[in-house]
């Protein structure tokens, strides 16, 4: 088997160049999808039979919660690759994920509170789903704090990678909390085994939002990765070439 692609995948100048080329291909579809989904979610989708117009918070809450968890998955996977194969670019990917992940975990918590108040009568309860999501936020902050606290880059990469990997246990807890425990949080309407329990005009904007947010994250990650690679390579001569 030819492994050249794998070695090129680990080559910083190659990644830097590819990331720059790919960014607009993720950013533009993301922007279009999010704008279309906004119109679909706020205008075209019918009100919910139980929650009326209030259910529309779904279109910002679910995609941010999805990003919060998905980004953690990307971060921990990249950290594991970096730890196992000592691939520096993988550590750079993991480091680029944390800030964005923390932002969208915060958004999922805040939008959830704003949804909880009218529907449950309270902004916050120490419910399994909510608590696990708060722990996810703390994990992100811990990861960033740990990186910031270690001067040596190699040690910071390895220590934060271990933290990211250990924190993965929280992910299935978030996912299944509404099934394992008697949670106040509603059960999933889309990401479940049988068919989604939603009419199409309600579902389509949500799916577009989920895809739009995912592509948006890909674009942000690529830009952050380029910054991270420049900072890490410091003196490499190829940087001279690309900055010219």
């Amino acid at each position: 088997m030819n492994w050249t692609w794998f070695h090129r995948l680990g080559s910083p100048p190659h990644i830097y160049r590819i990331a720059g080329t790919l960014t607009p291909w993720f950013a533009w579809p993301a922007g279009l999808l999010i704008v279309a989904a906004l119109y679909g979610g706020l205008v075209l989708a019918p009100p919910d039979y139980q929650q009326g117009e209030g259910f529309r918070i779904l279109y910002v809450h679910a995609p941010s919660a999805w990003l919060a968890v998905m980004i953690y998955g990307v971060m921990a996977s990249a950290a594991a690759v970096g730890l196992i194969w000592r691939m520096k670019v993988a550590h750079a990917v993991a480091a680029s994920c944390a800030g964005v992940g923390a932002w969208f975990t915060a958004v999922s918590l805040v939008t959830g509170m704003l949804w909880g108040k009218p529907m449950w009568g309270t902004y916050w309860v120490w419910d399994p789903r909510l608590t696990a999501q708060l722990i996810l936020f703390i994990l992100y902050l811990g990861y960033m704090g740990l990186r910031a606290g270690i001067d040596d880059l190699g040690r910071a990469d390895r220590a934060s990678a271990v933290l990211a990997i250990v924190g993965v246990v929280n992910i299935p807890i978030i996912r299944y909390s509404v099934e394992w425990w008697n949670s106040i949080h509603q059960a999933p309407s889309v990401m479940k085994m049988d068919r989604p329990s939603m009419p199409l005009d309600m579902l389509a904007p949500l799916l577009m939002m989920l895809l739009g947010f995912t592509l948006y994250f890909a674009a942000i990650l690529l830009v952050r990765l380029r910054a991270e690679i420049l900072r890490r390579e410091r003196t490499a001569s190829w940087i001279r070439e690309v900055l010219r």
């Binding site: 205008v43 918070i57 805040v110 009218p118 420049l230 940087i239 900055l243």
Partner: protein, 56 residues
């Protein structure tokens, strides 16, 4: 139109939720672009100092 913005009484919860999300989306675009611009500038500065040191 005002009926749309009233969101059947949910406006005080719904619009802040959308606003917070919008802020996060825009902030992360800005932060990522700034990080990249700063990293480029920092590299350019370093190379300028190096070049000065090597010339007679």
């Amino acid at each position: 139109m005002s009926e749309f913005f009233a969101m059947d009484g949910y406006a005080i919860f719904l619009w802040p939720a959308y606003l917070v999300t919008l802020i996060a989306i825009l902030a992360n675009v800005m932060l990522a672009r700034r990080a990249h611009a700063e990293a480029k500038q920092e590299a350019r500065r370093r190379f300028a100092i190096e070049d000065e040191g090597s010339s007679p």
